[in-house]
């Protein structure tokens, strides 16, 4: 699945999420797939669900975390790709 920094995503309508102590557990109610997000993943999720582009999410997170831009971009696109493949996120319209 091709994911770019210009993309936005939305939460799949069958996904339930619950934040617990700074971490998040996602559940796809149709497939029964559970997915855990650590604190950094939770921050990314909370920004992604505001329908920001991945580039906009990166910009916010670069101010908050001590991480190189290319590392964050690679990690974020990998996470979003994984979540889309598990049908937890749905690729949305491009922000470009």
């Amino acid at each position: 699945m091709d994911v770019t920094l210009a993309d936005r995503v939305t939460v799949h309508p069958s996904v339930l999420c619950r934040e617990l102590g700074g971490e998040t557990v996602l559940l796809h109610l149709e497939s029964g797939v559970y997915f855990g997000l650590d604190a950094v993943g939770t921050r990314a999720w909370n920004l992604l669900v505001q329908e920001l582009t991945l580039a906009e999410v990166c910009a916010v997170m670069l101010d908050e975390f001590d991480v190189a831009a290319h590392v964050l971009q690679d990690d974020l696109t990998a996470l979003v790709r994984d979540l889309c493949e598990k049908h937890l996120l749905v690729p949305g319209r491009s922000g470009a």
């Binding site: 971490e23 029964g32 797939v33």
Partner: protein
């Protein structure tokens, strides 16, 4: 369940569930043939196993996880079929049978279709134990929903958590209650619109553990909408059904499910009430509801789930995630070391002493060591 609870529950099931057992007897007599081998899934008190023998089964594997299996053994022992029924206390999903069966019967219903995990158990039994073309009793379950007015129930189950007790505010617990599926008995006067079909589960063909759907009802009268009643109609065999819809529960006398709303909402005759209920085999259930005047946009909207507010420890939920990488807890390390000593040379008393000597930090008393050892022996020794 304690023995007392099991007795109460099975007394109810055997004597106070309307025509349920008559319907099962009818279905079994049409689906079980002379000489069949039958699996009774969740046999409980064993009555369906006896009915299968009466219909001609030459052997019945009667499976039950709970201690109620003792009731089944006692009841069957007083019949002429005691040598035909083999009671097995185990989870069916963990079981290997020596042969495939001609029919599977089972009553593992709850208020809204099957018990939690019931679909997984039923599909697994069908796929691993049933001969091709074999019979399933039941073979289909239809889920239904209806909007309900239930002021007394709402007060006792939801708004009880708005009170103050000895100057302690109970309201922090209310979100847990309103995101929980409750059991309740509704009568026909409480429904604001007749039950609508939500989904049908084809037990013969489906492999999907998700059940649910969407239904729209038109209020037949005005009132206060407190939530959704969930109920079911099960097809046991052709023309043999049972269910628990309000006012039509004479085949089961079962309670219905109640899915409450956070805010009771006034409705007028003619209002459109849109209800969506989804469940993953009863483990997690979500219910959404919109209320709209005819031709207008919804003026009230609700989205509840048992996933959102249950007081589960974070660790419990995280461990369900598919990407969770477990490591042994200190108790797990202790259990592994104990299991390594289950080699047939050490007595329970010696093992208990060893536990006390090595794990007194985890097992603070003799009683704790004894309980841990007995539980481990029961599972593995």
């Amino acid at each position: 369940m304690s023995d007392y609870d099991l007795l109460q529950f099975h007394a109810f099931c055997l004597t106070n569930t309307g025509t349920r057992l008559t319907q099962y007897a009818r279905a079994i007599s049409t689906r079980v043939r002379d000489g069949d081998v039958v699996l009774d899934l969740g046999t409980g008190s064993g009555l369906l196993a006896v009915l299968a023998c009466r219909a001609g089964a030459r052997r019945v594997y009667a499976i039950e996880t709970s201690d109620a299996i003792r009731f089944g053994e006692l009841l069957a022992s007083a019949t002429e079929f005691k040598d035909r029924i083999e009671f097995i206390q185990a989870a069916s999903t963990q079981l290997v049978l020596p042969e495939r069966v001609d029919a599977i019967v089972g009553d593992i219903h709850d208020t809204f279709g099957l018990q939690t995990g019931g679909l997984a158990a039923f599909f697994d039994a069908r796929d691993r134990f049933l001969k091709p073309g074999g019979a399933l009793v039941p073979c289909a379950i239809q889920l239904l929903v209806a909007p309900v007015e239930a002021a007394e129930l709402y007060a006792s189950e939801i708004d009880v958590w708005t009170r103050r007790v000895h100057d302690v505010d109970l309201s922090p617990i209310r979100p847990l209650a309103v995101n929980q599926m409750h059991a309740a008995k509704f009568d026909r006067e409480q429904v604001l619109a007749p039950p609508c079909a939500l989904a049908t589960i084809d037990l013969e063909r489906s492999n999907v553990l998700h059940a649910g759907g969407h239904a729209v009802a038109t209020a037949l009268r005005g009132g206060i909408l407190h939530g959704v009643c969930g109920c079911f109609v099960t097809t046991l065999a052709e023309s043999v059904v049972m269910g628990n819809a309000p006012g039509e529960g004479d085949t089961t006398n079962f309670a219905q499910a109640f899915f409450p709303l956070n805010t009771p909402t006034p409705v007028l005759e003619g209002d459109r009430i849109s209800m969506a209920v989804d469940t993953y085999d009863g483990h997690v259930t979500r219910w959404r509801l919109d209320v709209a005047r005819p031709g207008a946009s919804p003026h009230a909207r609700f989205d509840h789930s048992t996933f959102g507010d249950l007081p589960l420890p974070a660790r419990t939920l995280r461990r369900n995630a598919n990407d969770y990488r477990p490591t042994l807890t200190p108790r797990g390390v202790m259990e592994r070391a104990l299991l390594d000593r289950f080699d047939g040379t050490r007595s329970a008393a010696e093992l208990e002493t060893w536990l006390r000597e090595h794990y007194d930090g985890l097992l603070p008393s003799e009683r704790a060591a004894e309980a841990f050892l007995k539980a481990t022996i029961e599972r593995c020794g």
